[in-house]
């Protein structure tokens, strides 16, 4: 295979080098340099300044809020995504296409619009605004609003990731389990889940990355109350607008760390997903290689 590729599918060497150079240059300019800048600026005034900026109460509050929002959004979307994926991939029902389209809605709508949507619904002058005000429930410009916005913008990831996997796997194994006497939950945990677990993990990672990094939607519903309704991305913006660059980059580096951890886990999950898909294709394509 590699020989074949070498002889027929390869471009001349200069072109190969040129293409590689373009990619490397692009990566350096738009990924590596900015990432390095974050850390260099964060540590520009020394370790002491870095840690005091990170340990500053507002920054800590922002970190806690970001983790809280992600900690609620990710499990919610995990459960929702698995239910939606199961329903869409394994059953036929009227409105299935509509549901599939609706799941993609948060991708299609600008995050700022989704934020506005929650303000229009739950804000002081919104649809449920006066009722909520009368009952002393604060959603917009408070933590619930931030959680809601985070759940909304991050909800397609899990479903999107597992629907193709579940569809590829088909229904055969579930039917086999049913005939062998397994109940619905037993079938799900013993047969369906093991087949999608790596895809599921990958979806959760993407969902988590989005939940922690979301800026637009959260910014609209937050109200930017320091120490109360600022998430990490919002805190970075505030510090930056105050010309407190070192502190802004120090807080940004926290996000960068979270992103790097996510990337590593994602790389591992991705490799496992590829392996599963490969094994699956082999089973399907291999008609009968040897005698029994």
């Amino acid at each position: 295979m590699s020989n074949l590729r070498r002889s027929t599918l390869t471009e001349p060497a200069p072109l190969r080098w040129a293409i590689t150079a373009v990619v490397l240059l692009f990566l350096t300019l738009f990924l590596l340099v900015p990432l390095a800048t974050v850390f260099i600026s964060a540590f520009a005034k020394g370790m002491q300044a870095y840690f005091s900026a990170v340990r500053e109460p507002d920054a800590m509050a922002a970190l806690r809020l970001t983790l809280l929002a992600a900690a609620i959004a990710v499990p919610c979307n995990l459960v929702f995504g698995v239910c939606a994926g199961w329903g869409i991939a394994k059953f036929d029902f009227p409105g299935k296409n509509l549901l599939t389209t609706l799941i993609d809605l948060p991708f299609a709508v600008s995050p700022v619009i989704s934020g506005m949507l929650f303000v229009l619904l739950f804000g002081r002058n919104g649809v449920f605004g006066s009722w909520l005000f009368d009952h002393n429930v604060r959603i917009v410009f408070a933590v619930p609003g931030i959680v809601l916005a985070t759940v909304f913008v991050s909800f397609p990831f899990v479903a999107r990731e597992i629907i193709p996997m579940m569809e590829a796997a088909g229904n055969d194994e579930e039917e086999a389990a049913a005939v062998l006497g397994a109940g619905g939950l037993q079938t799900f945990f013993r047969v369906t889940l093991p087949n999608i677990k790596w895809g599921l993990l990958y979806g959760v990672i993407l969902c988590n990355a989005r939940a922690m990094g979301e800026f637009g939607a959260v910014s609209v519903v937050s109200g930017h109350i320091r120490g109360l309704t600022n998430t990490l991305p919002l805190q970075v913006e505030i510090l930056y607008n105050e010309y407190n660059f070192q502190a802004a980059f120090a807080v940004a580096s926290l996000l960068a760390f979270l992103a790097l951890i996510t990337l590593v886990v994602k790389a591992i999950a991705e490799r496992r997903v590829e392996q599963t898909v490969l094994e699956r294709t082999e089973i399907r394509l291999k008609p009968d290689p040897t005698s029994p």
Binding site: V179, L180, G181, A182, N195, D288, S291
Partner: protein, 334 residues
């Protein structure tokens, strides 16, 4: 356990998969559902298993209406066409699955499960593969593991969907004989779906021939081969010569039921034709004669008879059928 199918109908949208289908599977017998692809056989099997629901009609398992029993309560073993082995489980765990998912009070002890699985793997002669994954097995091995898995729950009925469909010819023949021997040992009421008439003849006690969702014939292997009920059954079991008559009927003659001689005559008259093609196929010789109108007549005879006749290509002979069967003419799509 005996199975009775009573007036089962099933449609998928506008497509009629089964139309008023009724037949019996006597206890302990091995029955083939035979017919061309897309004829409704697999749907029938899935309805027996409870994986699909009939639009109307009933399935009686041991005389009891099974309508309200879901697939998991029907105590059937099902071998899927592509085996549907659990790909993330070892062979051992695949076979053990049906025992492990039982409610605690009926679940065997871990030792009993272990023993049972080893026994079954021994039965299918694959005990050395216990720790492999399905992806590491050959097609024939997967087939037998799927069978062991289905047998583990001690089903009352075994249902097999195209059990040898995905295997190459040699493996298929060997597994077929093995399955027949297995059936003779354990006498489990079994139904299998196939589109291969040879497979049905070799394996089954009874054959139910389904085409376009209706039953063309239901009988023992001898009955359907020797006394086909319809033109479809006649043409489905091997080559046949068709002589159209008036009124949409036609006369059907099997190649081995044609006598060749140098003089006209015979119990049902004869047709003259010139020898066009001669093929030596093992113990038999296959010939094609062309009538004056250019229509082919297929003839089959033993080598001895061929030697005695000493015929040669281009010779004019008389083909006399020894047995005639007349049916309403078969639809072209059959």
């Amino acid at each position: 356990m005996a199975i009775e199918i009573r007036n089962v109908n099933k449609k998928f949208g506008r497509f009629t998969a089964l139309k008023d289908v009724s037949f019996n599977v006597p206890s302990g017998e091995l029955v083939a559902l035979l017919g061309p692809s897309g004829g409704g056989k697999t749907t029938m099997l899935r309805i027996i298993a409870g994986l699909d629901k009939a639009d109307s009609g009933t399935v009686l398992l041991e005389g009891e209406d099974a309508r309200d029993r879901s697939a998991r309560d029907r105590e059937v073993g099902f071998v899927f066409q592509h085996y549907a082995l659990f790909r993330h489980m070892t062979v051992f765990e695949n076979v053990a699955f049906g025992l492990r998912v039982r409610p605690r009070r009926t679940r065997p002890s871990p030792q009993a499960i272990d023993r049972k699985v080893r026994d079954l793997l021994g039965l299918v002669q694959l005990d050395f593969l216990a720790d492999r994954l399905p992806s590491q097995l050959s097609g024939g091995q997967r087939q037998r593991i799927a069978l062991a898995r289905a047998l583990a729950v001690e089903p009352k009925v075994l249902l097999l969907d195209e059990p040898f469909g995905a295997l190459d010819a040699n493996v298929r023949r060997e597994l077929r004989r093995w399955l027949r021997r297995l059936h003779d040992e354990i006498h489990l009421t079994s139904v299998f779906v196939t589109h291969d008439q040879e497979e049905a003849i070799e394996l089954a006690d009874r054959v139910v021939i389904i085409n376009h969702g209706i039953i063309e014939q239901d009988g023992t292997v001898d009955e359907v081969v020797e006394h086909p009920a319809t033109a479809f059954v006649m043409t489905f079991f091997g080559t046949v010569n068709v002589f159209p008559n008036q009124g949409g009927r036609a006369t059907y003659v099997r190649p081995h039921e044609v006598e060749l001689s140098r003089t006209p005559g015979g119990p049902h008259g004869s047709v003259p034709g010139t020898v066009d093609d001669v093929r030596l196929a093992g113990a038999v010789v296959r010939l094609v004669l062309l009538t004056a109108e250019g229509a082919p007549i297929h003839v089959e005879m033993t080598r001895d008879r061929f030697g005695a006749l000493a015929l040669h290509k281009g010779e004019l002979l008389h083909a006399a059928p020894s047995q005639l069967r007349s049916f309403v003419e078969s639809r072209q799509d059959g």
